[in-house]
């Protein structure tokens, strides 16, 4: 076995740009997922039956089907309904965002349910509505609880985002494939790609535990 180190070094600039794009779609998707997840998670435990049911269906469907199939649904199947091509970037962040929204909804639900119910009672007994109490009392405290699982979700999505390479979106994995198509350096490029993913996930998990410690002392 002969490892072509020069190829690895030379491919780095292109791959690092791809890694930047991977981080970008992960961050946008998690941001989108956070907004979706907050509302779906709250809907999951509110006292309106219809909302609860809708939230449950949303979560079940997105966690019960593969992300790859969801990406195909949005990129290939949706245009047949709306009669218009979907931009790969939009398809990528939509699929990843909607998908992580389902996982984050469950994270949120657990985070909210971990708050002592006396907090809700105290808010309501002061005349605040359910929504006001959620907004000012419960959700801000829940955010603190969900930082660690949210960090895990970010890492999971960062890795899963490699799936959008199948629709030709040029993130890290896709760039690796393209370089291999030119150089036939499967071994070198996949090792480099794997190492770049590893560096990213390790950095994020360190960042999350640092944030966790800071929040805990506050």
């Amino acid at each position: 076995m002969n490892l072509n180190v020069d190829l690895m070094i030379n491919s780095l600039p292109l791959l690092i740009v791809g890694a930047g794009i991977t981080i970008q779609i992960t961050a946008i998707s998690v941001g989108l997922g956070l907004i979706i997840g907050m509302f779906v998670g709250i809907a999951r435990i509110c006292n309106v039956k219809v909302l609860r049911a809708l939230a449950a269906v949303y979560i079940d469907f997105l966690r019960g089907t593969p992300l790859l199939v969801q990406i195909f649904l949005i990129y290939f199947a949706l245009p047949m309904v709306v009669g218009q091509r979907v931009d790969p970037f939009i398809a990528a962040i939509t699929a990843c965002g909607i998908n992580s929204g389902a996982y984050i909804a469950e994270i949120f639900r657990a985070g909210i349910q971990a708050i002592d119910e006396g907090q809700m009672e105290a808010g309501r007994s002061l005349g605040m509505t359910w929504v006001q109490t959620m907004r000012y009392i419960i959700v801000p405290q829940a955010f603190k609880n969900i930082v660690p699982p949210l960090g895990n979700e970010f890492i999971a999505l960062l890795k899963d985002s490699s799936l959008v390479s199948v629709i030709g979106f040029e993130e890290l994995t896709r760039r690796g494939q393209l370089i291999i198509a030119r150089t036939y350096g499967s071994l070198e490029i996949w090792i480099t790609v794997a190492l770049i993913y590893l560096v990213m996930t390790l950095t994020i998990s360190r960042l999350v535990s640092y944030m966790e410690k800071r929040l805990a002392t506050k």
């Binding site: 006396g118 007994s125 002061l126 005349g127």
Partner: protein, 239 residues
Amino acid sequence: MIDIKNLHKSFGDHEVLKGIDLHINPQEVVVIIGPSGSGKSTLLRCMNLLEVPTSGSVVVDGMDLTGDADINKAREEIGMVFQRFNLFPHMTVLKNITLAPMKVRNISREEAEKTAQELLERVGLGDKADAYPPQLSGGQQQRVAIARALAMKPKVMLFDEPTSALDPEMVNEVLDVMKSLANDGMTMAVVTHEMGFAREVGDRLLFVDGGTIIEQGDPREVFENPKEERTKLFLSKVL
């Protein structure tokens, strides 16, 4: 001020309140005692609908909580103090007190903070405005909780075992605040195990057991001359 008629409350098959009739006059201090599981806390929690009655009516200050009254509006007039304080741990003491007046009563920050500071002085914690609840002792937290409830300028105050979670040496600082409230003419319903407070501050004592009011009257009278066997038995254990 509070008018309760034929109040029933069940949790599943378990009937906790079995037909309570109770009228509390303005400025009256009613102390509710009874063994644990007697339904006294549930009765109090029905007075601001934290527990929804199974049947019967609860009317507070002319608002029918079991009827068509806006429950959020009604709760603005009914302050509540909990056994475990339930302060908002992520906010300073000052914010704990100003939040509801600003969000619910739409009072300006300036005015809400001024009122909050006055209330903190009143409960002896004028220097704690910027502290966070977890930094305070239990007794201090409960006094902040009382100030928080008072900031809404309620017409009635409900106390649900306000000293039961406190270390013994902190009980009096809370009872003193409650005493001064009573002296100022606040209408109060107090569930407590503090018999000294009941005797000294209460206008009326209610002994609740098995989901009904067994006996009620002037606290001194009930303590010295209980008429019912169950009252005698209970008092012999706690006095």
